[in-house]
Amino acid sequence: MTEPTTVNGAVRNEKASGVNTQKRIKFTFDGRQYTGFEGDTLASALLANDVKLLARSFKYHRPRGVITAGSEEPNAIVELGEGACVEPNTRATMIRLSDGLVANSQNRWPSLKFDISSINNLFSRFLVAGFYYKTFMWPAKAWMFYEKIIRKAAGLGTATRKFDPDRHDKLNQFCEVLVVGAGPAGLSSALALAAQGKNVIIADEQPAPGGMARYQSHDKTRQWIEEKLSQLNALENVRILLSTTVFGAYDGGCYGALEHAKQENDYSPRLRYHRIYAEEAVFATGALERPIVFGNNDLPGVMLAYALRAYVNYYGVIPGKNIVIFTNNNSVYDLAADLLDLGCRVTVIDSRADSEPAGKIRDSGGLVYNNAVVADAKGWQQIEKVSVYQKGLRFDQDCDILAMSGGWTPTVHLQSHLGSRPIFNDELLTINLTELKTETTITVGSAAGIWDHGDCIRSGEMAAEGETAQSLQSNSNATEALYYVSQSRNKSLVDYQNDVALPDIWLAEREGYRSVEHVKRYTTLGMATDQGKTANLNALAILAQARGCSMQQVGTTTFRPPYTPVAMGAYAGRSVGLHFSPVRRTAIHHWHERNGAVMLDVGQWKRPQYYPLNESERLRDAYVREMTHVRSKVGMVDVTTLGKISIQGTDAGEFVNRVYLNRFDTLKIGKVRYGVMLREDGFVFDDGTTTRIAENEYMMTTTTANAASVLLFLERLNQVVWPELKVHVFSVTDQWAGIALAGPNSRKVLEQVVDDADVSNDALPFMGFLETTICGVQARIFRISFSGEVAYEINVPADYGESLWAYLLEKGSNFELKPYGTESMGALRIEKGHVVGAELDGRTTVQDIGFGKMLENCKKPIFIGQYYSRRRLFNDPERMQLVGLVSTDKTMSFKNGSQILAEPEITDTPVDSLGYVTSMTYSPERDENIALAFISGGLSRWEDKIVYAHFPLFKLTVEAKVVSPHFIDPQGERLRG
């Protein structure tokens, strides 16, 4: 007999293999400092410090302690960390102890020992299944109010709203075989596969391999694990991922795995999300021990038998001296022997009439009661005694720990993710897969219903040969069908985490919820963060008994990923903050920044909105100043972000001709044409200009917003719809920097910068194109205008963007060239009545925007929208058409999205709207507030009439006169000058 040794006030079994008693670790729980050892979990360290009360339950606020030693823990749920690092709802059984670790209990107020809401426990007979739904259903509005209070009282931890300071990472992994689980079956399988030369990844959620075998006291088993680990470590074709949970199995051999990567004093990311692509998978996922449902089976000090074995043999924690073990199977007798060896008092309460290993325990000084059950646990905040029921008699038995085992349930979640449906097996008395092998997966070890250590190893080796181990399945633990104790007098929990008790399931069944999926949703059984890993099978058995049917008839619920909770941060990886979405900067970006531009996000692009003169100049003053300057002198704007698509090939002309509504086959080399693109349903898709650069080369520009969708559409036409056309389309947006020069002085500036080209109105007229050089650099000059002024768009290779910008500024200084931003650019185009995305929102036709002539003139046999653009209803005069609005009161400006009515007041709702405002600005040239709008009947009905633009949200009404949308230079004389 080994005497327990005392280390730092805590009793530890010196044979413990999982902790390093040479290295102490300080940590804090609920404000108190404790000491544990390297290798401890928070749960084992707290147990070692005799802290048994760790949490309050979800609904009834019952005191709760540690139940398990693994990831299925439903009770010991704590809040980990502080401040921005806080992580609510973490399982104390899975938290590796690290120096300075801080954890707090949750769902209690004011303290864990004295929790006011535990009064819920006294009223618990009213808080049955469906209570909230029934009580707060009516009146409907009251639910909104009650819900907040309920959520606060019944709940879990609170997530922080602060930015996560930890780093997380994502990576892709590829292998021939993924082995999930590094217990005896997984280790033997991985080794056998590796010996065949297979590229293997073996993953286990625990930080050390061995699975449940680690918790045994036999030296031989421990040596076997060590030996297999070192053999695997020596192999180059094997990767071992520890502390890594394979949480989901997806289509095409893709598996999601979460690695808790961060070690103490190490710069690894905290979490790593592995996307593992495996041709085949071996599931050696083991089995979970079931609790037994009896009175107060959630009292701190009650735990699963395997967990006690883990704490005693692996973590070296002996949490009690007087131990009762309640079982319906043989798997606990090794634990009883271990405990007797350590000098504990051991009493086994065995529900079975006879238990073969009992003799050995009795010989070693232990007590074994057969035909007996634990009816109730008793004690204040932790277990003090149990009430045993045997053959009609009840007696109390003192104890400080109660270990229970209700049998074992194979972990088949991943198989279930892939579509396998586990069913209850009457011989094994547990759920089991109907097929252990699919085309790409095989299930081995305890996950396959195999319990003996040697058989598990054998099944792993057989899997490497492609053989299933169906023959090794048996009820070798001689488990009896005991799921709940009918003699109990106290609350018997089925689902610990969601506080679902035995009567809740009976009530659901009485109220007609017969399907297991309905019972689950009505009682919330299995719906907590642990997904009922310890609860589901007991619940099925209770439901089957209540319905008087077999377990197979009840069926099972569907497991869905993830197996255990995955932090959002792991999915996000490095894609946070600035990296959430790519940032696109033009070649001139840094000049804008250096010169104080206010930058605006336009999709992924950053664009200069305006260039304030000084700190006090606001947007409105700035854009009015900038656009006034363009109209009187000259300005330049960065238009790099416009989509640029190169279209090349012998059929390029035909292709462009089919894409646009208007003709492009007649476009001469060196000319630009404005084009309108439709969708097949006849509505306008996008507009822009296209230039014929050479015989077989066109360059199309799109709006900034539609650049990607236009490109994708052209690619569809090119590759799928008209593959016979010899043409290639590709984006050159990033290859060219674009600068637009606009204003009466623009030609004078251009003359200063081109090397030796004639840019006179005759040589380069409106809609002309010139390929030339500036300072010897290739430059493409397009004479196009969206502002209504004489304007040029200059494209140079992107690398020269900023130098061209600076060169223009220098050479243009004599003509007072100044930069302008997107705000004034937008205002200039509104004054000109040029439509953009706000008007082309997918609901407008060419007739609506005043281009009906284009369609009338179109005689092309093939073009996009050829059929539906000719719908009769598109010519309906009642359709909303583009008009201009002028505010009759100079002090009143429009609001985008305003609804247009004929009356100044809304007297009754609903009211028919005549139309809506799409774009608004102040027009310096007219000294008026103007807007573009769509209005039913259009200009022909409303010209010079008064309408009202209503914006009810701000109680704003603007009286407006309807005018032509071309507020300036309607004949276009200015831009041709």
């Binding site: 289509d251 590759q719 539906y868």
Partner: protein, 86 residues
């Protein structure tokens, strides 16, 4: 899930953009029903289906992927020009 691009080999599906039914044909005439079906009607088949996927974050090829809409199994993928009519 991975999709095999005829140019790039098997790549993660996140590099692709789903672009709908590959079997629809743009009408060659002015038949109202043909145009209606082409623009508006899409079958929602159960089982084997020919789909268009664009390798947008790759080589930008459009790929026909034959996929089982029930099991998500991918049978084969090829360029639209290699598609045979059923």
């Amino acid at each position: 899930m991975r999709i095999r691009c005829p140019y790039c080999g098997p790549r993660d599906h996140s590099e692709f953009s789903y672009e709908g039914d590959a079997t629809i044909k743009r009408p060659q005439n002015e038949d109202a029903k043909a145009w209606h079906d082409y623009v508006y009607l899409r079958a929602n088949p159960r089982g084997r289906h020919k789909e268009l996927w664009s390798h947008v974050a790759g080589c930008r090829a459009w790929v026909v992927v034959e996929r089982n809409t029930l099991t998500h199994e991918i049978y084969e993928s090829y360029l639209p020009g290699d598609m045979k009519d059923d």
